[in-house]
Symmetry: D2
Subunit: 106 residues, 4 copies
């Protein structure tokens, strides 16, 4: 199943609860940060033993990301691919291989 079908289901879920009124781009951006921190909390003092929790928190981040992508009229896949093209240019293999340095410090 592609993200298109998943997003259709998310939209149905949101519409049936009349929640679209809350889903401004700004509120979705806040929600992504909030859910990202809940994911991070699993690693606050070390690594969690239960990957089920990681999956659930990651799902929450992804859900709001999918909703925001949809608001912007884009598919998540297209966004990732387009950015990958940019990042590939910023991080040429020969300069960045094996290094975690930022592109402006390579």
């Amino acid at each position: 199943m592609g993200s298109e079908e998943v997003i259709a289901k998310l939209k149905e879920f949101v519409a049936s609860r009349d929640w679209d009124q809350f889903h401004t781009p700004e509120n979705l951006a806040k929600s992504i940060s909030i859910e990202a921190a809940e994911l991070l909390e699993l690693f606050q003092w070390g690594s969690p033993s239960d990957s089920g929790d990681i999956k659930e928190e990651l799902a929450d981040v992804l859900t709001y990301c999918f909703l925001l992508a949809n608001k912007l009229g884009e598919s998540p896949e297209k966004l990732v691919l387009e950015k990958l093209a940019v990042t590939s240019t910023k991080y040429p293999i020969e300069k960045s291989k094996g290094s975690s340095a930022k592109y402006d410090q390579l």
Copy 2:
């Protein structure tokens, strides 16, 4: 194009730079929070005029989410759908319609 193909391209990008060594679940979780905040920064003092910036920052969050999903052996779509089933039960339509309250305060 489904997320599977996109993730294959991400893995190729990562492998050719020998970056997999940096992509522990914890580092990916930190990265998701960091990129989520860069997205949020566009809304720090109001709404941005340029949706191109939003797309780029959202793409960064999605990229790390896709990489973490892949680390966990799951597809992003499946994670979102499974969580949607849980959330649908926590937020029955009749109780949550038109309300932004948390499920334990409905």
Copy 3:
């Protein structure tokens, strides 16, 4: 120098730039998250070698925290102490000693 004098200087800095109009509690809350992530970014792939960077990013988080405390009419010190009293009750020494578990899992 106590935080009162520091906050007085921050208010002067803000007033002279006519920035108070941007400092709603919500915008300050967003700013705290944004700056917290810039601090976290220093640890994205490991520990930073330069503690000067950590100090600068921590200062940014603290600055917005001081401004928000001031908006709420409270001193940062009082807020921390009042919460410490609550936390001390939630985490009795005998149950929490040497454990990083959350209070509801002790």
Copy 4:
């Protein structure tokens, strides 16, 4: 009461629970982001009615900030003041007055 006394009390609280082992700079940085997002959550769909909640969540952010400042051997006040000097130079009054633009876009 200055932050010095507050930090002394925090250190006592931490030492009596043998929690210093968990308080690496990285774990404190993660904790600051996590608590910042809990503060942000109060503003997820609008402004909260209860400023008591804001105070509690802000207190959590401040607590970890104070602990990290202490780890770095600095007082929170000094960090804020030193950064204020830098920021004042980056944002001259005549250029930044009434504007929420970043310094590199002034």
